[in-house]
Assembly symmetry: C2
Homo-oligomer: 332 residues x 2
C-alpha cells in the first residue's frame, strides 16, 4: 500500500482544554477555542506494509520511546479496524520545533498521524471524523485538523466532540510570538495533568464558567475586537494555571521569566499595544499580537531577561496531505 | 482623659481571608487561621481630650492621609458611641516595619487602635468584643487581638465573627522568614481587593472548600505536623492568588523574584527542609519554617536574586497595653 504524508500545525488555545470527562476517549471537561500556528509544522508519513515484521515508529529521526510508540499504535489500530486491514505500519514523524516545552507538539503530531494513517489505509474520512480520530490520540489534536481559528465543542459523547473552523486564517491577521524560556521537557506531561485537573477545588468552577468564556472569545474573534480578546484570553490562561497550581499534587509551570513576560505584555497593552498572552502546560509564553504590531512586540519580548528566543507564527491552515513521490517513508 | 498605649503584631494567615459577605461590617466570606508576628509591632496611643478642636491622627510621624484618617475616625466613632463620650481623639500610631508591602500593616494598626481606644474611653471589653471592634477597622485585625495561633470564625453575623487563640505562641516553634522583594506600596489595597473577590469565577469554589482547609490547617498546627501544614498553607495561598488573578479586573501581586522564592522553597522542602510559603496581597513571600531550620532557611532565601532582605519573626503574643507615663501621646 502506498505511503501518504500529511502536514499539520500545532495550535495555541485561547480558551483552554484542561481535564477530561472521559480520559480514555479524551472527551474534554469543557469546549475550547484555538488558532493553528503556521510557522510550526509536523510532517508525518504512514505506510501500511504486509512485509513489515512489526510496527515501526520513528519520531524526529529516532525510534519512538515506549509511551509514544504505544500512543501511535493505539491510533493506528483504530484506523486498521475501520479499514479492515492488518498490516503493520511504518510511521515517520518530524517536527520543525522542540517537543515538550509548552508548544503542543502532540496536537500537530496526532493530527498529521490521523490524516496520513486514514489516507494510507484508503479510508475516506470527512473533517469531523478526522478531528475525532485525532482527538483519540491527543485531545487538542482535534483542533489541528480544521484550519484557521477553531472551536472544539465539548459534545455529549464521542460522536459530537470534534473541532470546526470558525474563521479562516485570513480572517484576522494575528501573530503568535512564542517566547521561548526553556526547551527542557516539562515536569508533568499534559495527559497526566488532565487526569489531575479534577483534584483541584477550582476545576468545577472553571468548567462551569466555560460557556461564558467561549462566547466572549468567539465573538471577539468574529468581531476582530482585540481588547475583548485580550481580556478573555489572559483570564482563561490564569484560570487553567489556577487549577494546575491547586491540583493534588500541584503543578507549577511558570518560571520567573514567564512572569516577567506576563508583566511586560500587560504593561505594553496598558500603553496601547495590541498584545496579550496565554500560557500552556509549560513555561513558554505565547504573546498574541496583531500583524501590524509584530515588529514592536517581538523587539519588546526579545529584550526581557530570561527569554531565549522569540518565534513568530501567523495563523495556520488545516492539516493536509502533501505529495509523496517515494514509496519509502525513510526517504522523504 | 488619660492616654493609653497598645501594642499589636501583624499576623500572617495560613488559611486566607479574601472577600466579604458584608463589606461594611467586614464579615468574611470564609474563616481563616493565622499566627501573630512577634518581630513586627505597631504601637498606638489614643487620648480623648475635651480641649481638642478636631480629630488628630498621626501615622508614622505624619498626619494621616484622608482615607486612613477616615478609617481611624470610623473606629473611634464606634468607641465613642459605646462609651457615650464626645471628645475628639489624638491617635498616634507607629510601625517598626514598612506599610503596604504585603506585610499586613492594617491588621496590627486596627488591633492596637481598638485596644488603646477602648481603654482610653474607659470601656471594659473582653477579647471577643475587642476582636470584633478591630474587625470593623480591618478584617484581619481581629486576628491580631488574641495571641499565638489564631482562628477567625466566619460567624453568622457581627456578634459571632471574631478570632480566638487555638494555640499559644510557645505551642509550636515556627518562624516566619519574611522575604522582602519590594517595599513599594502594592498596586491595589486589600479593601479594594476584597470587594473584587466575588467577580472571580473561582471565589465561590474557594469559599465552599474553606471548611476542609481550616480543618486540615488547625489539625496540622495542633499536631505540629509540618508536612500536612506545608501542603495546605501553599494550597491556600495559591487559591487566593488564583481568585485575585481571575478577578475583574485581575489583580497580580507576584513578581519574578516572588516566583523564584516559591520555587526555591518547594525545592528545599522536597529535599527534606521543613519550610513552606504563603503570600499575601503583595509581592513579598512569607517562608514559614521550624525554629530548628531557621538558619539554613534564611541563608537559602537571602541568596536568591531579587531578594532585598529577610526578616525573621517568631510567633507573637496578643495585643496588649503598655505603660504610658505621659499624658501627651506625641511624647511617647
Amino acid at each position: 500500500m502506498f505511503p501518504y504524508t500529511a502536514l499539520a500545525h500545532p495550535n495555541i488555545a485561547f480558551v483552554k482544554y484542561w481535564g477530561n470527562r472521559d480520559n480514555g476517549l479524551r472527551l474534554p471537561a469543557n469546549g475550547s477555542i484555538s488558532m493553528n500556528l503556521e510557522g510550526l509544522v509536523t510532517r508525518t508519513t504512514v505506510r501500511f506494509d504486509a512485509s513489515l515484521p512489526a510496527e515501526r515508529v520513528n519520531i524526529n529521526g529516532k525510534i519512538a520511546g515506549n509511551a509514544a510508540h504505544q500512543r501511535v499504535v493505539s491510533l493506528v489500530d483504530e484506523v486498521r479496524l475501520m479499514a479492515r486491514i492488518n498490516h503493520f505500519a511504518w510511521v515517520e514523524s518530524e517536527n520543525n520545533f522542540p517537543s515538550g516545552a509548552g508548544i503542543a507538539s502532540s496536537a500537530a503530531a496526532f493530527a498529521a498521524l490521523a490524516l496520513a494513517a486514514a489516507k494510507a489505509a484508503r479510508l475516506d474520512l470527512d473533517e469531523a471524523a478526522l478531528s475525532r480520530l485525532a482527538r483519540h490520540g491527543s485531545g487538542s489534536a482535534c483542533r489541528s485538523i480544521p484550519g484557521g481559528f477553531v472551536e472544539w465543542a465539548a459534545g455529549t459523547g464521542d460522536t459530537d466532540s470534534y473541532a470546526v473552523s470558525i474563521a479562516s486564517p485570513e480572517y484576522w491577521n494575528l501573530v503568535d510570538c512564542i517566547v521561548v524560556i526553556s526547551t527542557d521537557p516539562k515536569p508533568t506531561g499534559s495527559s497526566e495533568g488532565h487526569a489531575l485537573a479534577g483534584t483541584s477545588p477550582l476545576q468545577s468552577a472553571r468548567v462551569d464558567d466555560a460557556p461564558r468564556r467561549l462566547d466572549i472569545c468567539r465573538n471577539a474573534i468574529l468581531n476582530r475586537d482585540f481588547a475583548a480578546f485580550a481580556e478573555i484570553v489572559e483570564e482563561d490562561s490564569s484560570l487553567m494555571h489556577a487549577v494546575m497550581m491547586t491540583s493534588h499534587p500541584p503543578l507549577y509551570y511558570w518560571q520567573p521569566a514567564t512572569l516577567a513576560v506576563m508583566q511586560a505584555v500587560r504593561a505594553a497593552r496598558a500603553k496601547g499595544m495590541p498584545v496579550c498572552y496565554t500560557i500552556d502546560a509549560g513555561s513558554n509564553v505565547h504573546a498574541i499580537c496583531t500583524g501590524a504590531s509584530v515588529g514592536e512586540t517581538a523587539k519588546l519580548l526579545g529584550s526581557i531577561t530570561g527569554v531565549r528566543e522569540v518565534r513568530l507564527s501567523n495563523v495556520g491552515g488545516p492539516a493536509r496531505l502533501v505529495e509523496n513521490p517515494t514509496t519509502n517513508p525513510y526517504e522523504i
